[in-house]
């Protein structure tokens, strides 16, 4: 009896968190799924109306833009932040004297919310106020950096600010990874006369594969949740050229009183999340049991 009880303790301690997650994550997803089948306007209503909200969603040109942007933004944001993070980590790993200071400088953007830094970025990217004006005032009259006001390029401006915010964190992940590669192997390679860059490409980077995966997941999660970034930097504009699913959903739910529509967009977003996370979870958990 006592032994049985002893075995149940872990489950009992875990239970509250599990129940909470069950209700507050999965219950709420279920609730959202239900609402997405209703014609809820200002407040949630529970009478079902079929798939009308999804039909409306897929008929809205703005939603198309938002989804296109999510994939474009996501790919660039994740790719560049990873590359930059890795580059910085490798550079910092060369036994740099001021490493502590530099590391903090690269890392600090993660500490600030975009509500805080958005205005500054807006100014910096604005051609009339920021970088373009500054460089032109130095005499380079033909210099142009006007992405933020160009509907076709504004999403790249959002990528820049996003990369600025997240790449330091990725740098930290990679730096930690570099520091934990077995130094014996590297020494051996150096003694064998293998050039430095080969050591990286052939030995160090392959051994960090799990970190690439972790970084990818953190960045994917940031990309999908990106909201403050767009609101603070472009407000979704010019036009709705930089709208993302998260901003679309927020606009529908809270400024337009169209909660049913917001719920349907949320469900599509959750589908995207699911498609990204489930393979990760699968590989992650399988690997642990090999």
């Amino acid at each position: 009896m006592h032994a049985w009880l002893e075995r149940q303790i872990p489950k009992m301690v875990l239970a509250p968190s599990f129940v909470a997650i069950l209700i507050f994550v999965y219950g709420f997803i279920g609730w959202t799924a239900w609402i997405s089948l209703t014609r809820s306007k200002l407040l949630p209503k529970y009478d079902l109306y079929g798939l009308i909200q999804y039909r409306r969603l897929f008929a809205a040109p703005r939603w198309d833009t938002a989804m296109d942007n999510l994939f474009l933004f996501g790919a660039l944001f994740i790719g560049i932040a990873m590359a930059l993070g890795l580059l910085l980590a490798i550079l910092l790993d060369q036994r740099i004297r001021a490493e502590g200071v530099l590391r903090t400088i690269y890392l600090y953007p993660m500490a600030l919310s975009m509500i805080v830094t958005g205005t500054a970025w807006k100014w910096i990217m604005n051609p009339g106020l920021g970088i373009e004006a500054m460089v032109r005032s130095w005499g380079f009259e033909s210099f142009s950096f006007n992405w933020v006001i160009d509907p076709d390029r504004a999403i790249y401006a959002v990528v820049i600010a996003g990369v600025w915010q997240a790449s330091g964190f990725v740098m930290a992940l990679f730096l930690a990874g570099l520091r934990s590669v077995d130094s014996e192997i590297i020494k051996a390679a150096q003694i064998d006369g293998i050039p430095g860059w080969r050591i990286y490409t052939a030995i160090i980077l392959p051994s960090m594969a799990p970190i690439f995966l972790s970084a990818f997941i953190v960045l994917a999660h940031l990309a999908i949740k990106s909201f403050d970034l767009v609101v603070a930097l472009t407000g979704g504009g010019p036009g709705y050229a930089t709208d993302l699913p998260a901003t679309y959903m927020y606009a529908m739910a809270f400024s337009r009183g169209d909660i049913g529509q917001a719920a349907s967009s949320a469900m599509v977003m959750m589908g995207v999340v699911f498609a990204i996370v489930v393979p990760y979870l699968y590989s992650e958990l399988r690997a642990k049991h090999v």
């Binding site: 903090t104 890392l107 953007p109 500054a120």
Partner: protein
């Protein structure tokens, strides 16, 4: 965050004698790092300089320039004089709300994460991985989705508009990440340790308190930094689940910065923004070193 290979901070590069080529390379390295540092510092630079300028200077001059005359007036206003509604007491009263809310929320969610991670990593039972996956997926849920049902829940629980209500919301949606951190850390500790302790007669709690928690400092640092940053910077929960008197500092900042039809005081906006970001900034500056160490100590690749 997962799968970090063996902890070893030993410097790996074997010191080579300096050659001219080597020195040039060194310079290139430094200038590259310096350039990147400039890129990262640029927004902070703009915010700082603007906050030290007078409004006239901002109206007339370039935004990306040093102040002609340094004034701390905007900082004083932002801290204790800017209007955030009919009260013009600056960020000060709200700052305290944020502290009251962030500190317990961080501690509770970190503690829960440690307990959960310990169980999932070390007390294998059927379904543990499924539970873990379920929690992990919770990390990805966009907060906009949960706002309305959460509001109703908090109403039922009688926590609507209160700081405990906000703490509750942050703890619930922090569990996923904190559990992930601790689980990935504890999974690297050989399970023989638990077996040996059990043989010695130690129980579930004893092993947690006396063996696992003392080992956990690096990952606690990582978790606390992560959670503190998330909770302190949160706006969406703060604005939705608060009422007069319990609004956190991000809401007050937003009230100062965002005015639809009022006159904008950019210097005060920027000073307020920096003040609101100061605690997290401080955490990163002070604990940044431990952050990397904590990540490095992340886990031994199994």
């Amino acid at each position: 965050m997962s799968d970090f290979s063996a902890f070893s901070a030993a410097p790996r590069a074997v010191a080579a004698p300096a050659r001219p080529g080597q020195i040039a390379l060194r310079w290139l390295l430094f200038s590259l790092l310096g350039l990147f540092a400039l890129f990262y510092l640029l927004p902070l630079f703009v915010m700082l300089t603007t906050s030290l300028k007078s409004l006239e200077e901002i109206r007339s001059g370039s935004l990306v320039s040093l102040p002609r005359e340094v004034t701390f007036e905007a900082w004083r206003t932002a801290w204790s004089g800017a209007c955030t509604g009919i009260q013009c007491e600056g960020l000060r009263p709200y700052f305290w709300n944020s502290v009251l809310l962030a500190v317990p929320a961080v501690l509770i969610s970190t503690f829960l994460g440690a307990a959960n991670g310990y169980i999932i990593a070390q007390w294998h039972f059927r379904g543990a991985n499924l539970i873990f996956s379920a929690m992990l997926f919770g990390c990805f849920i966009p907060f906009q989705v949960v706002l309305l049902p959460m509001a109703r829940m908090l109403g039922w629980m009688g926590l609507a508009g209160t700081i405990p209500g906000l703490i509750f919301a942050h703890v619930i949606y922090g569990i996923g990440f904190t559990t992930l951190f601790f689980r990935n850390f504890y999974v690297t500790i050989p399970s023989d340790l638990v077996k040996a302790a059990k043989v010695d007669g130690a129980g579930f709690f004893r092993i947690f308190w006396s063996i696992f928690l003392p080992l956990s400092l690096p990952i606690i640092v990582v978790t606390v930094i992560w959670q503190f940053t998330q909770i302190w910077n949160d706006f969406l929960f703060g604005v939705s689940f608060s009422q007069a008197g319990t609004q956190p500092v991000t809401v007050a900042l937003n009230n100062i910065v965002n005015s639809t039809t009022g006159v904008k005081e950019y210097n005060v906006d920027m000073a307020a923004a920096i003040i609101a970001g100061l605690p997290t900034l401080l955490v990163y500056v002070v604990a940044g070193k431990y952050f990397i160490r904590g990540l490095t100590a992340g886990s031994v690749k199994g």
